[in-house]
């Protein structure tokens, strides 16, 4: 999976700017952050490509694509469905996509 640039919405993002709450490609990163002295101070987190694969916390076998906030677990598609389609309460869990796009320091 790729993260789309929030600036041009066409290129792949290479950094994340938390101050602007945006993922940006190289060109948009330069354009946005060269605009003025405050923007230039924004710390940007570089993104690794290609994606990193993480294993499901439950089966330890398949690739995890979802993170469940309530269960605090990385889940593959099968385990995610098994757990979350089981009861009314688990079906309300907040689950987020795991893109595998790792963050650098």
């Amino acid at each position: 999976m790729k993260v789309q640039c929030d600036g041009c919405e066409s290129a792949e993002a290479v950094v994340v700017c938390c101050a602007d709450e945006a993922a940006l490609c190289r060109e948009c990163d330069i354009q946005v952050h060269d605009a003025n002295k405050l923007a230039g101070k924004h710390h940007r987190v570089p993104l690794f490509r290609p994606p990193t694969r993480t294993s499901c916390d439950i089966c330890q076998d398949k690739t995890a694509y979802f993170f469940c906030l309530e269960d605090r677990a990385l889940l593959c598609h099968n385990c995610d469905m098994s757990i979350h389609k089981l009861t009314a309460s688990t079906s309300n869990h907040r689950r987020f996509l795991v893109t595998g796009v790792a963050a650098s320091l």
Binding site: A19, D20, E21, A22, V32, N36, L38, H42
Partner: protein, 96 residues
């Protein structure tokens, strides 16, 4: 440079504006002047805009973690659609 010199010592750069004294002062003079007595400590002070380093700040931008005057706030945040989304809150005067 446009940065204002402290009205008190004329040596350091001013960092805050005292609305009661109508003076731009550095942090050292602020401590000295406003720490002197109970009346002085009640003077309302505001940060000076970090961008122009000239006008008193009117807003704090949470995303940029910066104090800005109204006109710099407009300039900075109209640079692009991302900056325009930044959450800003009105500056409240402080007393210490």
């Amino acid at each position: 440079s446009m940065t204002k010199l402290c009205d008190g010592c004329r040596v350091s750069n001013a960092a805050i504006y005292c609305t009661a004294d109508m003076a731009y002062i550095c942090l050292g003079c602020d401590l000295k002047v406003h720490g002197a007595n109970k009346l002085a400590s009640r003077h309302e002070r505001v940060w000076i805009c970090e961008v122009c380093e000239h006008a008193p700040a009117a807003v704090i931008c949470k995303a940029d973690a910066a104090a800005l005057c109204a006109s710099c706030d407009t300039d900075i945040h109209s640079a692009n659609p991302l900056a325009n989304r930044h959450e800003r809150v009105a500056v409240t005067p402080f007393f210490e």
